[in-house]
């Protein structure tokens, strides 16, 4: 398969990144994104790389895509007119939510807008109990009447979420079948398929979101597929999901709610892979761009997955790489609040107008401007004679807006902006590490995105993280992630039962059922049996608690001993996460999960030897300020740094995609894959 040409395309806010792998060689390309018509950016990128590398698009054997189409639809509330069908008496569950208001002191706060408005929410007469027993039979005539109403309402998409459908999905299926039989031309989302898990609001919301996104995703993928096909690409389009796994475009059409964090998930996957090449598998990833910073934690090479991620105002409960976002990016604006305190963000100048130093009309001081004033960024990178902006303008604005009111020098003000921004990011790094029971001292910090490597070495010092890794491809990790990620399908069902009452045989047969589904699915994508893996987990808690912990299930047949092993693993996880465990307390099963994995072959990312020496890589020297101290600092050209070389900070490593700031006393080495490893002082 090595002759196959593999292509990954990730659409970001500013650039569409394309990574190709052919005969073990990785090539990277960027084209401007086309936000109004994202598929155009994809085609432009494909054209660009095929012309540059001189190949015919028909040679592409694998094409994967990270998309923000679903995310943008949610953030902008621009989704399809959807109907929601619920159990009688409960159509308002979606709108009531959990009753809490989002902020306790702010009188102007709003609840999230219901995904489906009240006049599009319908009820059917039926009811199950908490074990899935039928209390009230489904009123099928009522469903037929409903079909007529829905035809009249002309909806494109129907979401069906009935109470306890995760215990028994037959009523949901029957409702769909009747509506379809009655001639309702629509696409369907069933809660028992989208998220078969307990808690009606979260399940209903996720199902309704899926329903409202389906027509949007369908249109986008349809367009993209036909354009890609017109270019001569024969390979089936694949899509990155929020859980870091690849699925087919057809499945993404069915489950758009699983792609809400498609782009950021690709980044975490890429960072995990590249760091893993040099043996680093416990990682905190940090992707800092223009408006925000995404952080996540990777344990033993596997990104942590969460089932309560928020996208916009909505809690989305499908498995998602646990990415925590803070409003700290290069464009975040520094300001003085009413009490005289220096604040940074969450307001951002974004890419347009952007920081003052971009010269596009930005007038508020940003993190990037502070980095510039401290000498961390090459002034020549932004400021040219053609633009009507000078370093002096940046200095004057920071002086007027920050330094003077705080009675500081401009340098102190710029340093202050970075310190406050770093404090915000440190809080985010703590959320994904210490708050989850992980000690940052046992992790490496992988920095990427345009601004990540500027801040990472200082942040690592503050959190006692011993090492920072900056991959060579730091600017296109999301696209690279598309090419090294496995194909993943998740299956789950809630079964709230005392663990002691769960029969190993029943549990085993549930796993077998899921595994058979997964096998069939992977088989249909032409995967060899030896490339298939099936990972079994159960979500457990102490009987009486409400939050579960996922525990892996031993391989092979399940017996009493295996059940005991699982219980022991749970106590251990609980101790790790919360600092205490109660081995004598009864445990409860909540959800059974199986992940079917199709393992993808991964490329060799070794760059060509550059030769040369560290000394020769120094292109310039500049005064850079570290913790308030101006220090003459060598500027290294990243591409000229030889593999295996090492040197000491202070140093600035300047590359096409990002700039790395290495503080005095920190030591850098370049690994076989061109990644920089920075040892941070303890």
């Amino acid at each position: 398969m090595s002759e196959e040409r593999r292509v990954g395309v990730d659409i970001g806010g500013t650039f569409t990144d394309i990574v190709t792998i052919h005969d073990g060689t990785v090539n990277v390309s960027k084209t401007p994104s086309t936000p109004s018509n994202p598929d155009e950016g994809v085609i432009n990128g494909l054209t660009k790389v095929s012309e540059r590398d001189d190949f015919d698009p028909s040679e592409i054997g694998f094409l994967a895509h990270g998309t923000t189409v679903a995310t943008n639809a949610v953030l902008e509330g621009e989704w399809a007119d959807t109907a929601l069908v619920t159990t009688e008496g409960f159509r308002d569950v979606l709108e009531i939510g959990r009753q809490a208001r989002p902020d306790i002191y702010d009188f102007q706060v709003e609840k999230p807008t219901p995904v489906v408005e009240r006049d599009r929410r319908y009820e059917v007469h039926e009811r199950l109990d908490e074990r899935g027993n039928v209390l009230t039979e489904l009123d099928e005539d009522g469903v037929r009447d409903l079909a007529a109403d829905l035809v009249e309402a002309d909806v494109d998409s129907v979401a069906i979420s009935l109470l306890y459908a995760f215990e028994d999905d037959s009523h949901e299926q029957r409702v769909r079948d009747i509506l379809a039989d009655e001639g309702l031309d629509a696409t369907y989302s069933l809660s028992s398929g989208v998220l078969p898990e307990i808690r009606e609001y979260e399940r209903t919301l996720t199902t309704a979101l899926n329903g409202s996104l389906k027509p949007v995703m369908d249109r986008y993928i349809g367009n993209l597929e036909s354009k890609v096909e017109a270019e001569g690409v024969g390979a089936e389009l694949k899509i990155m999901q929020s859980n870091g796994g690849i699925i087919t475009a057809d499945i993404a059409r069915e489950r758009p709610v699983n792609t809400l964090l498609s782009g950021p998930a690709g980044g975490v996957q890429g960072a995990t892979y590249v760091s893993g090449l040099s043996g680093e598998s416990n990682l905190i990833t940090m992707d800092m761009g223009g408006t925000s910073c995404d952080v996540s934690l990777v344990e033993e090479g596997t990104p942590l997955v969460s089932t309560d991620t928020e996208v916009g105002d909505y809690p989305v409960s499908v498995p998602t790489i646990d990415i925590h976002t803070v409003g700290a990016g290069g464009g975040s604006i520094a300001w003085i609040d009413a009490g005289g305190a220096l604040r940074v963000g969450p307001k951002s100048a974004g890419a347009d107008p952007g920081p003052i130093c971009y010269g596009r009309g930005g007038e508020r001081p940003t993190i990037t401007d502070a980095n510039l004033l401290l000498g961390r960024i090459d002034p020549g990178a932004f400021l040219s004679g053609e633009l009507d902006v000078e370093l002096e303008d940046v200095r004057r604005t920071v002086e007027e807006e920050i330094a003077d009111p705080l009675d500081m020098s401009v340098t102190e003000a710029a340093q202050g902006i970075l310190d406050v921004a770093n404090a915000n990011m440190a809080r985010a790094l703590r959320v994904v590490s210490v708050e989850r029971g992980y000690d940052p001292r046992e992790f490496g910090l992988v920095a990427f995105g345009g601004a990540g490597p500027l801040h990472a070495c200082k942040l690592a010092e503050e959190l006692d993280i011993p090492k920072v890794i900056v991959p060579r491809t730091a600017g296109v990790l999301s696209a690279l992630g598309l090419l090294i990620s496995d194909i993943l399908y998740d299956y789950s069902t809630s079964r709230v039962r005392p663990w002691a009452d769960v029969s190993p045989a029943d549990l085993h047969s549930q796993f077998d059922e899921f595994a058979a589904e997964g096998h069939e699915r992977l088989d249909s994508e032409d995967l060899d049996a030896d490339a298939m893996q099936f990972e079994r987990t159960v979500d457990l808690r102490y009987a009486g608690q409400a939050f579960e912990l996922s525990v892996s299930v031993p391989e092979g047949d399940l017996d009493a001993a295996a059940m005991e092993t699982i219980a022991e693993r749970f106590h251990e996880r609980h101790r790790q996460r919360y600092g205490h465990a109660y081995p004598e307390e009864p445990i409860e099963l909540v959800t059974i999960r199986l992940r079917a994995r199709g393992v993808v072959e991964t490329p060799d990312l070794r760059p060509a030897e550059t030769g040369g020496s560290v000394e020769a890589a120094v292109s310039d020297t500049r005064e850079v300020v570290y913790d308030g101290e101006p220090t003459e600092t060598p500027i290294y050209d990243r591409d000229a740094l030889p593999i295996g070389s090492s040197f000491e900070g202070p140093a600035v490593v300047s590359g096409v995609e990002s700039t790395v700031v290495i503080h005095p006393g920190q030591r850098v080495s370049v690994d076989d894959f061109g990644s920089l490893h920075v040892e941070v002082n303890q």
Partner: protein, 553 residues
């Protein structure tokens, strides 16, 4: 100021992160649905002077009242009598508590033998003994009927559970296993706070940290004062009522006079009803908490909440009234219901002068319901407690939110699927109440209807609610919100008194209807499109629209 503003901001963020992490741990390891699902709990950090420095923002009524708990704990156990590994529990409303179900745990944090801070958290336990399952009885007349009264006492000493105290508590409650689990979660949360704060001390040193914490409080005080200064000087007053006390005393006035004088506010509750037999007496800590909340909301919600926010506010609540009762008053509803009315009158007084900074009255109650009995599925005792959201007041420029907790409460609902799995109860209906929101240019939020059926057993049921007769006021010309109500459904509907206790037969349904909120601004000014939208969504009936708006169909 010798400490720079950047270090200050960094330390302030770190203190908030500590409280939030404590809170996340408490919710995730708690046992009763009231804590783990509804988040009826709060966590906070206090400095060595026992002054609030940061909090995780769950329950407003807890937050302003917790400083009284820490003060009472230290009053009983002065710092020199405390040791590493101690933790003090209390719930006595007359010694730092609010009402008996709220158990507060205070843990001193030592560095080099000295106390540098306290971690504290409060959780509403689903039962703390007393006459009625769930310990939110509507018919108590003395605190002695309301449950176990715990003065400040060491629940942990030298790192070990004080077993005699634990046994004493567990012997007096209906669901001891759940209580033990919740208490352990409370202890683990404070341990988290202790660990994190100690790390902060290691990083900055006691001296810098102490200085920073003092400045963080001063900073909030400065901002609070500059906000208060922007309010017109003068005396603002307002009066509203509680419907009754459950013991036959009706229309109990809650009266406030605010004096805004430069950068401070004096709040006086003179004229409020004398304390009554029924369980609606709010101890001073609760009254203060409700007042602090209201003043904070009309200033700038962005001001970091800590002790500094309280300094410009001075409160007088006459002793022997329902806003500052003495022993042996029954108090459970003071924390739940009277606290809401205190907020209503303080906001109402501001509303007369600066309506655009406040909102019309919210539902003004927490609609407390409690079921208790023996679960026929496994013959185990249970106590189920929850509160219900309702209308949030109309505001300048926006309709009020529908079906949310207002002011002193901000708990979540119990998911139906979780409720029915945990308890022998069935939810048969859960929806927004049409026409319950007060008309106005900006409509008041809608109340809720939640119907709960008893399955296969006899259950005791207590209701403790308000606004079944009085209505949440409108503001700036808006109409008042709709009343709440409760019915017993057994073939036909029987109206239940708003504060009452009953034994329910298998199959009987209690239907709780929560109040809507007041509207804001003249209803005639309402945008016709907003009226059309309410009609389309069924939030308003055409009859209501004809009666209250300039509308004809």
């Amino acid at each position: 100021m010798s400490i720079d503003s950047v270090t200050l901001e960094v330390i302030r963020n770190a203190c908030i992160a500590i409280a939030e992490e404590m809170n996340a741990n408490l919710i995730r390891t708690g046992y009763s649905p009231n804590i783990k699902e509804r988040r009826d709990c709060s966590c906070a950090m206090f400095d060595a002077d026992a002054e609030l420095i940061s909090q995780a923002e769950n329950m407003p009524v807890h937050l302003g009242a917790m400083p009284f708990s820490v003060a009472a704990a230290i009053d009983r156990y002065p710092p020199e009598t405390l040791e590493e590994g101690d933790a003090i529990i209390l719930n006595d409303p007359f010694r730092g508590g609010a009402h008996l179900p709220d158990l507060t745990l205070v843990t001193p944090i030592f560095v080099d033998g000295d106390i540098v801070a306290y971690a504290a958290n409060r959780a509403h336990h689903a039962d703390i003994g007393g006459a009625r399952a769930g310990s939110v009885a509507a018919d108590s007349t003395e605190i002695y009927q309301e449950g176990l009264r715990i003065p400040p006492v060491k629940l942990f000493a030298g790192g070990e559970v004080n077993e005699p105290v634990m046994e004493m508590i567990l012997s007096n409650v209906r669901t001891p296993d759940e209580r033990r689990g919740d208490l352990r979660a409370q202890e683990a949360a404070n341990q988290t706070g202790k660990r994190r704060f100690t790390e902060l001390v290691e990083k900055y040193g006691v001296e810098t940290l102490t200085e920073a914490l003092a400045e963080i409080k001063d900073y909030s005080e400065r901002r609070m004062r500059s906000e208060i200064e922007s309010l017109p000087d003068g005396t603002y007053s307002f009066e509203d009522v509680l419907d009754d006390d459950g013991a036959g005393n009706e229309n109990l006035p809650v009266v406030v006079e605010l004096e805004v004088d430069g950068d401070s506010v004096h709040v006086d509750f003179e004229g409020t009803a004398p304390q009554t037999d029924g369980p609606i007496n709010a101890v001073f800590a609760v009254t203060a908490s409700a007042t602090y909340y209201a003043v904070r909301c009309v200033t700038d919600p962005d001001i970091p909440p800590n002790h500094g926010c309280y300094r410009p506010i001075d409160i007088h609540a006459p002793e022997g009234t329902i806003v500052n009762p003495t022993l042996p008053a029954a108090v459970v509803g003071g924390n739940l219901e009277t606290s809401q009315r205190v907020t209503d009158v303080v906001l109402g007084a501001f509303g007369n002068e600066v309506p655009e900074r406040v909102v019309a009255a919210g539902q003004g109650t927490m609609n407390n319901i409690t079921f208790g009995g023996t679960d026929p599925r496994d013959d185990s005792p249970y106590a189920f407690y929850e509160t219900q959201g309702g209308g949030f007041g109309g505001r300048a420029g926006k309709d009020g939110m529908d079906g949310v907790h207002v002011h002193m409460s901000n708990t979540m609902n119990t998911p139906i699927e979780v409720l029915e799995t945990a308890y022998p109860l069935r939810v048969t209906r859960y929806e927004l109440r049409q026409d319950s929101g007060g008309a106005g240019e900006f409509r008041g939020g809608l109340g809720l209807r939640r119907d709960i059926q008893v399955r296969d057993h006899h259950a005791t049921f207590s209701l403790l609610a308000e606004r079944h007769r009085s209505t949440p006021y409108g503001l700036a010309g808006g109409d008042s919100g709709g009343n709440g109500a409760a019915y017993l459904i057994d073939g036909d509907e029987e109206k239940l008194p708003e504060k009452s206790t009953h034994v329910l037969e298998p199959g009987e349904i209690v239907s709780v209807r929560t109040p809507g909120a007041g509207g804001y601004g003249d209803p005639d000014e309402r945008d016709p499109e907003a009226i059309a939208r309410d009609l389309r969504l069924g939030k308003v009936s055409s009859e209501f629209a004809r009666d209250h708006y300039d509308y004809e169909d």
